[in-house]
């Protein structure tokens, strides 16, 4: 088996007394889409923050193509892991094009002197960055909006702009945190197609999402995170059929719950006696 492009080994994260992640392991093979699902508070975003260097895991490590990732978001991005945010975090008063060009930052070679004196190398670099940014905007379907301020875009377009901005860093792995939150079915469908097209360009993708239908239609493998622990991992079919996943999402069947309550009451009585 070849080296996985991204690998999280036994990642734990503790905030004070709260164990947000308990030894989560995840592997992402090149050219695959991995889904990460779980109820609210399961630790999905915390896990993402560990992958991107925003948090340094309490134990465990994250490897990109076999190399341990540094604990600094900027360096992680430089190494080839890009992300989007659950609550969109564009640069609101920069134009659409400028937002994507900020994404080009790590791939541009323009130093302080070139920035200061605007020689021929500066113009070549800027032109190249602009062209690449326009390509990416066209790729996600945002044409002719270059000079619009990003805050003026409709919600769905802002999500796509965030993806274009992340792609501008030429990532090997793209992490999408709830890319379809708040979208209607058509937009969700378009996002799915967009993620497939991103995979075709050779970028591997990890997606956090609540929309189970979307995840099962999209991902090659799905991991379920519950209370900081990896519950199940496998193909969508396997995960869908697993009773523990159903339980984590829907709770136990009513009769079982009743049984549990009776048992609890009984044990309480026993204690009193």
């Amino acid at each position: 088996m070849s080296t996985p492009v991204l690998e999280a080994r036994d990642v734990s994260m503790v905030f004070g007394g709260l164990k947000a992640l308990k030894g989560v392991t995840l592997t992402l093979e090149e050219g695959k889409i991995v889904g990460l699902i779980g109820p609210n508070g399961a630790g999905k975003t915390t896990f993402f923050n560990c992958l991107t260097g925003l948090y340094t895991p309490t134990t465990g490590e994250v490897l990109l193509k076999g190399n341990v990732l540094p604990g600094d978001p900027a360096k992680v991005t430089d190494a080839g892991v890009a992300r989007t945010f659950q609550n969109i975090r564009l640069f609101p008063s920069m134009s659409v094009l400028e937002n994507v060009m900020v994404g080009r930052h790590v791939r541009m070679k323009q130093g302080p002197l070139a920035s200061l004196f605007h020689g021929p190398a500066y113009h070549r670099g800027e032109r190249a960055a602009r062209e690449r940014s326009r390509e990416l905007l066209a790729f996600v379907g945002l044409n002719n909006l270059d000079d619009e301020l990003s805050r003026n875009l409709p919600y769905g377009d802002q999500r796509r702009l965030e993806i274009a901005r992340a792609l501008a860093t030429d990532p090997a792995v793209l992490l999408l945190d709830e890319p379809t939150a708040g979208m209607n079915p058509q937009e969700t469908e378009a996002t799915q197609q967009l993620i497939f097209r991103i995979r075709e360009t050779g970028v591997s993708v990890v997606v956090i999402e609540h929309d189970i239908k979307f995840i099962f239609g999209l991902c090659d493998t799905v991991s379920v995170l519950v209370q900081g622990e990896l519950l199940v991992e496998g193909s969508p079919e396997v995960v869908r059929a697993d009773p523990r996943v159903v339980e984590a999402y829907l709770g136990k069947p009513p009769e079982e719950v009743e049984h549990d309550i009776e048992a609890a009451a009984a044990s309480a009585e026993e204690e009193q006696a």
């Binding site: 975090r89 008063s93 930052h105 004196f117």
Partner: protein, 578 residues
């Protein structure tokens, strides 16, 4: 400056006013126009004041020469005519234009009325006394208020849009004429009212002129001309820069071409250059620096010590370019040192760190630490700069034209400001500038984009401090004395005020802000004890009516608009709840 009237956000109160005033808009405007013209022709003072005739023949003697309308009376007349034109001609965004002119008129009338009242010892001076009547000021005020109300009545629509394209030669001509007009206005603004205390009414004349100019600029901006012009100059950027530089260099040939105003203009230039440097730190990278003037002080001290002055610590006299470079480098190093806490602290906490640094600098300099600052004795006797044997503080003549003393300093400082502007503009539109703005907007997102935020923030401090150090070196030679007193906390605050007042992240804003902050105190001298109070009041008013600054940067404008949107939305939601 009453350009502040231009983009007052039309809040709910405005809407309410508009509905009540709507039918009265045009009649009010027409009446205001006529009354303004009448006011210009009426006498304004019932008797001759102790300090002499109120300027521009505004006493009863005026009627010896009824058509000699000059000065503020000419301004009032012009505003009246313009109000009438705006009322009856198809002018875009009529409401804004009339309102701006109304504010201009109100300021002119109020300033003159208030001065006459105070100097004349009572309201009798502007109404009726001993059988003489002079209702010019009252009529002018009424006309001004009417015009403002008329503006709301007509409705404050969006700023007019000019979409027509012009060929390059025409564009050049428009830019040339416009910048020429700016040069004329600057010269007029500097010289109006005369030098210092030569004219007892200088303060009033200046403020009145400011009101008039503000009203006109407001009207032009309301029509959409200002926006169109700035788009045009953006399109022909190189040409605009050349013309602007030429205009700046032509100032010594105007009325402002005497030693006094050259000195004032040079001082403004030094502070403008420093303000632009501060604008990199505050405006682009969004890092609040409350001790910035210390870097200018460091630059000035370094330059002073290498100037060969008798009291300098080092007895060597380096040539100015070398000394200036040393000053810039040392200041830059201190900038990087002060910037390094930015890795750990954000926002208010960073402001406190920089405040502390500024204070450390002042105290150290006061106590002559290391023997290089001379403490409260300062370092006097710094020799003036000289080039080919011509000292910069002497007057020079080119052919038959004799230029005032200090003109060479002025030219040097114009070059300094131009250079600083170029640095700012080039950085702003570069990989680094984008990184700074990204950090300002959302630091975590910026880091997720691969921006090494720590390095970038230190770089912002370093470059800002370098520019301040350079300005400080010029300051040392220009003033001949360097004392810690010139670099106290108040100066930092004034510089920050210049940046915020002009518009954060905007170059012309920083220059205008510095100009206002350093000209106003000069011009308000005859208010003596009250001048700082009036100055503070003016700042509050400007920030109330134009929170993004006088010439805002596009990014900032967007941010504030966003906040306004949010507020409006919240208000809407709350209204629904209730």
């Amino acid at each position: 400056m009453s350009t502040s009237t231009v983009s007052t956000s039309s809040g709910s109160t405005t809407v309410a006013k508009r509905s009540a005033l709507a039918p009265l808009g045009k009649p009010f405007a027409a009446a205001a126009g006529v009354l303004a013209i009448v006011a210009a022709l009426l006498p304004w003072v019932t008797f001759t004041l102790n300090d002499g005739n109120w300027p521009d023949k505004s006493t009863l003697q005026f009627f010896d020469a009824p058509f000699a309308v000059t000065g503020f009376r000419w301004h009032v007349l012009l505003i009246g005519v313009l109000i009438l034109v705006a009322t009856f001609a198809p002018v875009p965004s009529k409401g804004r234009v009339v309102r701006a002119l109304g504010w201009g008129l109100t300021v002119v009338a109020f300033v003159n009325a208030a001065y006459i009242t105070v100097k004349g010892g009572g309201l009798g001076a502007i109404t009726a006394v001993e059988g003489a009547t002079a209702f010019g000021a009252v009529v002018g005020l009424v006309a001004g208020v009417l015009a403002i109300l008329a503006g709301y009545g007509i409705g404050i629509g969006p700023v007019g849009e000019w979409n027509f394209k012009v060929s390059t030669p025409v564009a050049y001509l428009v830019l040339l004429v416009s910048f020429g007009a700016v040069l004329y206005a600057v010269a007029a603004m500097l010289t109006t009212g005369g030098v210092g205390s030569a004219n007892p009414y200088a303060g009033a004349i200046f403020l009145s002129f400011l009101g008039f100019a503000g009203g006109l600029i407001g009207a032009l901006s309301g029509v959409g001309f200002v926006r169109w012009l700035s788009a045009l100059s953006e399109q022909h950027r190189v040409f605009s820069v050349i013309v602007l530089a030429a205009c700046a260099l032509l100032l010594p040939f105007t009325d402002a071409g005497n030693e006094y105003w050259m000195t004032v203009a040079a001082n403004i230039g030094i502070y403008a250059a420093t303000a632009i440097g501060l604008n990199i730190v505050v405006g682009l990278a969004g890092l609040l620096d409350l001790g910035y003037v210390a870097f200018m002080g460091i630059g000035a001290l370094v330059a002073a010590n290498f100037s060969g002055a008798a009291t300098a610590h080092f007895g060597i006299h380096l040539p100015f370019p070398v000394a200036a470079a040393a000053a810039a480098i040392v200041a830059g190093i201190f900038g990087a040192i002060v910037g390094s806490p930015t890795l750990r602290v954000r926002g208010d906490y960073l402001a406190i760190v920089t405040l502390a640094f500024g204070e450390i600098f002042t105290r150290s300099a006061q106590n002559n630490i290391g023997g290089i600052t001379n403490g409260s004795n300062a370092i006097p006797g710094i020799p003036p700069l000289s080039l080919f044997g011509t000292e910069f503080n002497k007057s020079i003549s080119i052919g038959a034209v004799k230029l005032p003393a200090g003109v060479l300093y002025y030219v040097l400082i114009v070059l300094l400001v131009a250079g600083t502007m170029a640095v700012f503009a080039n950085l702003k539109f570069s990989r680094i500038g984008r990184a700074w703005i990204a950090i300002r907007e959302d630091e975590d997102a910026a880091r997720a984009m691969g921006i090494r935020t720590g390095k970038m923030k230190i770089l912002a401090f370093l470059i800002g401090a370098t520019l301040a150090g350079l300005a400080g070196a010029v300051f040392a030679h220009k003033n001949g004395t360097v004392s810690y007193e010139s670099f106290k906390f108040l100066e930092s605050v004034t510089l920050l005020a210049a940046v915020i007042l002009g518009g954060m992240g905007s170059i012309p804003g920083a220059v205008l802000g510095a100009a206002l902050l350093f000209v106003l105190p000069e011009k308000l001298r005859d208010f003596e004890d009250y001048r700082l109070m009036i100055f503070g009041l003016a700042l509050i008013l400007i920030m109330r009516f134009r929170p993004v600054g006088l010439i805002p940067d596009a990014h900032r404008r967007a941010e504030m608009a966003e906040r306004a949107d949010e507020n409006a939305e919240e208000a809407h939601v709350e209204a629904k709840k209730a």
